[in-house]
């Protein structure tokens, strides 16, 4: 019995050692977890973009405004960089516009000279997770430190959003990501491994047809998965869709995201001939893309060197677009950039897939 067990052990171990690529990915995965979870989720969020403005009629900066501005700029957790990245706005209207566009996450309105006792007002983008609470705590503690008597009035401009709702939107993208990770280009690789590919490579079928066909089928599957989760979100997670136009926009974003992510996965698969290598590579990249997409933790909480990934991450655009539509009731004017980014990304991935696909057995 022992001899048999050792034989099985040796066989398995030889295979493991003969594939350093899989070994590398196996180690890279937990290290990535360490870096992303350790840095982003465990660390504190700093540099939150915050607007400061003084109420009309504006005559001159009040002492409260000047001191408040300085205190907010200097505010930080022990041994951390400044908590807020403060921008001074000349009027409430401009600040409100900046908040709606998402360039700042909150703004503070200090009372003017003529009515110094009015409350300090704080308008917060409540569609982000943990960030609103940090802003509230920061502003409140600054006011206490200054000894100001003014009350703090807080307006969550998108209402109170549960984490369930926040995360529910991210899970739609998770569904797309899971489908592509499980399906995606695996059929192409299985064909290669089983030798079935030899049968159709000798037919006149074009490699662009092979890649487009795979992407098409994967896209439909990913879209259906995302759509089902979207419906589940509405029924269970309390995600609210405000109208038919929002609903249709969500469908468009889901479709574009499905194409983008599927194209990427199929493009990668066109070069692999081993299921295990492919699966571990895809798992690695998919997790990286999903975790940096902001689906379950704000992008702003990531170290800056990690944040550049979100620029080339289709899932980040997808999450941003879905949150804009569902949680912030924004329209095509805000998510237009996201759609363009997804389009460019899909086109690039499809081209890559077609170019790298091997039309021979070598």
């Amino acid at each position: 019995m022992l001899r048999g067990a050792i034989a099985i052990f040796r066989r398995d171990f030889k295979k493991f050692l003969s594939n350093p690529f899989v070994m590398f990915i196996t180690l890279a995965m937990p290290i990535m977890y360490l870096v992303i979870f350790g840095n982003a989720i465990g660390g504190s969020i700093t540099g939150i973009p915050l607007g400061v403005v003084q109420e009309d009629p504006y005559i001159d900066y009040t002492p409260l405004f000047s001191e408040g501005l300085a205190a907010l700029q200097a505010y930080h957790q022990p041994d951390k960089p400044a908590q807020f990245e403060v921008t001074v706005f000349s009027s409430e209207g401009i600040a409100q516009q900046a908040l709606n566009d998402g360039t700042i996450l909150a703004y503070v309105v200090f009372p003017s000279d003529i009515a110094p006792d009015r409350p300090v007002r704080l308008y917060v983008d409540s569609s982000e997770y943990t960030v609103p609470a940090l802003i509230q705590a920061g502003v409140a503690s600054v006011l206490v430190r200054l000894g100001a008597q003014n009350t703090l009035y807080i307006d969550n401009i998108y209402g109170t959003i549960d984490y369930m709702q926040f995360f529910g939107v991210g899970v739609i993208v998770l569904a797309i990501f899971m489908t592509t990770m499980m399906g995606g280009g695996i059929a192409l690789i299985r064909d290669r491994e089983l030798g079935i590919i030899e049968g159709y490579l000798v037919t006149p079928v074009k490699r662009s047809s092979i890649i487009l066909g795979m992407i098409g089928s994967g896209t439909v599957r990913a879209f259906l998965a995302g759509f089902i989760i979207f419906i589940v979100d509405i029924l269970i997670a309390g995600v609210i869709v405000r109208g038919l136009d929002s609903f249709l926009l969500v469908v468009v974003v889901l479709f574009m995201t499905s194409i983008g992510v599927t194209s990427l996965v199929v493009a990668v698969s066109s070069r692999f001939s081993n299921q295990q290598e492919y699966a571990s590579t895809i798992a690695f990249f998919s997790l990286l893309l999903f975790m940096t997409s902001g689906a379950f933790y704000p992008v702003i909480g990531m170290p800056s060197w990690l944040r550049w990934i979100t620029v080339i991450n289709p899932e980040a655009y997808a999450v941003h677009a879905l949150r804009s539509i569902i949680l912030r009731a924004q329209g095509i004017n805000v998510i237009g950039t996201d759609l363009i980014a997804l389009l460019v990304f899909s086109a690039g991935a499809i081209m890559l897939g077609i170019i790298t696909y091997r039309r021979t057995l070598e």
Binding site: I196, I197, Y200, P204, T360, L361, E362
Partner: protein
């Protein structure tokens, strides 16, 4: 390399007595495949020369056999001709299209049945054909009728809706062969069409191949079964170690054996004096004694046999058994390469214990 006169492009039924006749300029049969000094070298871990400077031609409408042990380079050559691999050097033309320059054109006129099964086992027999029908861009209107025609041809009409995985090995093979024939290709490549099949299924596959050939399709098949090559092929190319050893019709190959027929005569007690007497006949090329038998190689064995038996009687040796047989292709192969066809088979089986 192969002597040029073995590679005779003349009429396949009449050129035995005039080797090289086709090169004198008379219009030979139409050539559909031309292979010129093709080599293929694999160099991943160690350098392996899979195909070594092979040149030959295939005529329109014939069944051409590539014969040789496993690892002789047959499949690699087929893969080069079917655009799946690029030759390291040399060129090959399929119906005037160079395989590396116009692979798309080549693919549209060939049908291929690779050595390993390429059926999708999760699809039904019908769907397998339907899938390829679309890849071959067959008109939607005629596709369904064509599929049923081919299913009939393969005797699989009743199993059309069965998943390919549930079909027997013979059925799968037949389905795969007709699949390669969906689009009426000019050339059909069959790589080891009957490997691993029982005798009954092999005969059926042979019948199918002959039937397809009557539609003026050129068929190229590789095999390491001598009986298959002898039964089906108009011309045969022997390959070994990546080289082309010999190329001719099966009859000519056998006739070219210098030793002729093999006569075996069993005896009770031998008088050694008989041996020089036998050797004295001009037709006899070799005489050996083995296991209480005299083994005689002789040309026109059947006409010399009575004379030899007279010799035995003369020396009062009582004969117990007599047998005579013509050389088989196997004997030709052994003569040409010095080894048996299934030798490579035996060694490759040893490497994979458990496969028996």
């Amino acid at each position: 390399m192969v002597p040029a006169d073995q590679n005779n492009p003349g009429n396949r039924h009449s050129h035995h007595d005039s080797p090289g006749a086709g090169e004198t300029g008379e219009p030979g049969p139409e050539k559909i495949i031309r292979i010129e000094h093709v080599s293929k070298v694999f160099s991943t871990n160690q350098t392996i020369i899979a195909v070594d400077d092979v040149s030959f031609e295939v005529y329109t409408g014939e069944i051409f056999g590539l014969l040789g042990p496993n690892g002789a380079g047959k499949s690699t050559l087929i893969r080069i001709l079917t655009t799946l691999m690029k030759p390291t050097s040399g060129t090959a033309f399929v119906d005037s299209h160079e395989v590396t320059k116009e692979p798309e054109k080549v693919r549209s006129i060939i049908g291929v049945c690779p050595q390993n099964s390429t059926l999708d086992l999760e699809l039904t027999a019908y769907d397998n054909l339907d899938f390829y029908g679309r890849l071959y861009d067959i008109d939607e209107k005629t596709l369904d009728a064509r599929i049923w025609e081919l299913l009939d041809m393969a005797g699989l009409r009743g199993r059309a809706d069965a998943k390919a995985g549930t079909l027997s090995g013979g059925m799968r093979r037949k389905l795969e062969i007709v699949r390669a024939f969906l689009h009426h290709p000019l050339i059909l490549f069959l790589d080891e069409p009957t490997i691993g099949l029982d005798p009954e299924s092999r005969r059926e596959v042979w019948k199918q191949i002959s039937m397809l050939n009557t539609e003026q399709t050129t068929i190229i098949l590789t095999t390491h079964y001598m009986d298959e090559a002898e039964k089906l092929c108009d011309r045969l190319a022997f390959m070994d170690g990546g080289r082309l050893i010999s190329l001719d019709t099966p009859d000519n190959l056998k006739r070219a054996m210098p030793r002729g027929d093999l006569i075996e005569i069993g005896y009770e007690t031998l008088n050694d004096d008989v041996l020089p007497a036998i050797r004295a006949h001009p037709q006899v090329s070799a005489v050996e004694v083995q296991d209480r038998k005299v083994l005689i190689s002789a040309h026109q064995g059947s006409s010399i046999l009575p004379v030899i038996l007279d010799d035995f009687e003369q020396f009062s040796i009582s004969v117990t058994t007599v047998s005579i047989r013509s050389p088989s292709l196997e004997d030709v192969f052994i003569y040409l390469t010095g080894k048996k066809l299934d030798q490579a088979d035996a060694t490759s089986q040893k490497k994979r214990p458990g496969v028996r």
